[in-house]
Symmetry: C2
Subunit: 436 residues, 2 copies
């Protein structure tokens, strides 16, 4: 075989070493369970979709990033998110599903972006969405926020805060200002954190906004706090617009819902600076920041989309959802030291066989595994020394030494590889120690 083969994974497509992958697996499991406790059922759609189905929903910038290829006469594409395939699935199966339809999906999506720090071309999203048929109660918005807060809490990344807004307020505010090109302004506001206030003002001026309008927009985007504070500040803006008022009314109802859901007031606030770039949001929108690591940006975000699914069919099918970019989050958490790499294996113990009585040895190994203890047996030659070195290389906390003496006395030698201490224990005691 040629030795010139490049064995590195492609740029922007991460593969984690075992220690990091173990954290990633734990996170996937945590999110899966958390979404499940709210009744969001797993659904998987194919990685490959018809290109025309994805293109119909991709905005201009996403469209350019889609991996496309042909097989025979069919134009194929790799999914760029999990929401568009959900919309297709729900439109296709609307007569078989029970609505509201709650689903979760955790899997890789693909975007051919210019690879850079924090940007991936293949990355996991972990989504939960609820879709109604004909209508969907505004309580669903509150449920999604409660689910997001609960799930982020379970990831144990420190204190966090949901930042909540409403697209109707944003759009109503801009309409009342009578500015042109609302889409461009929204894009700029969404990027405000990245480009900074100076650049934002310059760009807004390029859109031919006057000083008064720019001041008003900047002031609007800085409004944040609890509902009472935010609504007071919004009312002072004197906006005369029906959509704005509708959004404010929704925000009010949402704030009451969140109180009833017993959300910790420290874990959310309303923030008019939250915009969300995607076109399809129509109501509540939110992002989530880690309070001690604000620079990581949003780690969990989403919102209400009343027309995404309906566009594929005739029935109105409003939805609201939540998405965690797990791959990006792991890369950031590792870089920020928010998680630490510990062992390189799923094993809890390495068994060191120093006996030819393999049947008795395996009775013990089988008993450990039946007790739910992940057990690796060192099968290679080299005796105790090599086996213990292997266990240390893996970062496992315990080695269980089984020789003829141990089998005769029914006492096994359990060595704590962190402290170096070694105990002589019977099987039940070994299991107890390893389970605790």
């Amino acid at each position: 075989m040629s030795e010139k083969l490049n064995l590195q994974p492609l740029s922007g497509m991460p593969e984690w070493p075992p220690a990091a992958q173990l954290i990633f697996e734990r996170w996937k499991q945590t999110v899966r369970e958390s979404y499940g406790l709210f009744g969001y059922t797993p659904l998987e759609t194919p990685t490959i979709e018809r290109a025309e189905v994805l293109m119909a929903k991709a905005g201009a910038s996403t469209g350019k990033q889609i991996y496309r290829f042909a097989k025979g006469e069919t134009q194929l594409a790799l999914r760029f998110d999990l929401t568009v395939p959900l919309a297709r699935f729900v439109a296709l199966h609307q007569n078989e599903l029970a609505f509201p339809f709650r689903r979760q999906a955790i899997g890789p999506v693909f975007r051919g972006e210019r690879a850079q720090m924090g940007r991936f071309r293949e990355f996991y999203q972990a989504d939960a969405d609820i879709i109604g048929r004909g209508s969907l109660s505004s309580s669903a918005d509150a449920e999604i926020l409660a689910l997001a807060a609960q799930t982020v809490k379970r990831l144990e990344l420190g204190s966090f805060q949901l930042q909540i807004s409403n697209r109707k307020i944003v759009m109503g505010f801009l309409s009342a200002l009578k500015v042109m090109d609302q889409k461009a302004i929204i894009q700029l506001l969404d990027d405000a954190d990245k480009i900074g206030p100076k650049k934002l003002q310059e760009e807004l001026r390029l859109l031919r906004l006057d000083t008064f309008e720019i001041r008003k927009i900047t002031k609007f985007a800085q409004i944040h706090g609890n509902f009472h504070q935010v609504s007071q500040l919004l009312l002072r803006l004197d906006v005369d617009n029906a959509l704005f008022n509708e959004g404010l009314e929704e925000l009010h109802r949402l704030s009451q819902h969140l109180e009833a859901l017993r959300l910790d007031p420290a874990e959310y606030q309303f923030n008019m600076g939250i915009i969300r770039g995607l076109d399809y949001y129509t109501g509540m929108i939110y992002e989530t920041i880690l309070l001690d690591h604000v620079s990581l940006g949003s780690i969990c975000s989403g919102g209400r989309y009343d027309n995404l699914v309906g566009n594929y069919g005739k029935t109105k099918m409003p939805g609201v959802g939540c998405s965690i970019g797990l791959t990006r989050l792991l890369a950031q958490a590792l870089a920020a030291g928010l998680v630490s790499l510990e062992q390189k294996t799923i094993s809890q113990v390495v068994v060191v066989p120093l006996t030819a009585q393999l049947d008795h040895l395996h009775d013990i190994v089988n008993a450990l595994r039946q007790s739910g203890i992940a057990t690796e047996v060192y099968l290679e030659a080299g005796g105790m020394k090599k086996a213990l070195k292997h266990a240390a290389d893996l970062g496992v906390a315990y080695a269980l030494i089984i020789g003829d003496d141990e089998l005769a006395q029914k006492k096994l030698s359990l060595k704590n590889l962190v402290t170096g201490a070694q105990e002589s224990l019977n099987l039940a005691q070994v299991i107890n120690t390893l389970q605790s």
Copy 2:
């Protein structure tokens, strides 16, 4: 949006309805845990690989099936199995990994085959492999078989049997026969079940084998039983070949290992009809059949490959592995009635809110979720009748009715939707009932 969009998933790319997906999720979890108990650590490699890396390992027939495309100047391809990416990863990271390296991987792979019943273009494989550096004990072969047996047992698909052979015996036997084109014969023997004995004989004749040789080959492929029976029959073939003898010696040692591992003798046999089509196997090979559903073919297979990883680098890195084709297995199990579709949701209970005291309602809901009970709240308008119909549509066993009376009396109404019985219980009793 155009209504002409084809919303069906692409041919050969399954998406399961929620009830089937729930089984699939349970299986993935079962396999993940089972592999984990043997110390096989999760590893994920990207879906997309450099085309040249995959092509270097794909046989002629697999090569044609690879999904390839270009992004800029890079030739990309979707992985067609999980073993080749493992080989690349191990060759790349051999200085950071601890050997023997045990890893599991569960994920989709892609093959542009002609789609037909039981053949998929995107399908899950669930693999466990152990790779040595320089050498790998033959005990690893036995461990993989024990892991395979344990995992298939946990899937609860009825009685099964591992069918075990050794490539050295097969190759040694064919070498001793001095037949040309061993690869073509191996391919035919591997297909023997599909094409039937008559067609097999015809095809062998086309390869210019004489009647004596064909009889001997047919007889060889029919040898099966325990080690004693198989070795007697093999010795009677009078094969004078060193590789053959080496294979027989390996089979002997393996049979001793399997006894020590306490494998149930009913759950495995040696069978010279097992060939495995893939080029890279060099020693032990095996397949697994369901004894009551032999027509499903092998549901779990693998073997020893001494040169696959080493080919990417300089060091010899022998490996042995196990693979379950989960997608194909689910399709077959559904068709054969081996699994039954029950509920359409992960939820264990649907809460029916008949009160405006949402805070008290959510205290109860939060308590259920904290007890690990997947709880869906019916948030839409329509009252009891619509909520109970929704719960019935989902196939959930219980509905929990919470009205003002229930809150005042601290007694909740738990309705069993299967029997129709309704009980008045306090929260602790509700949790007990739902947990059992």
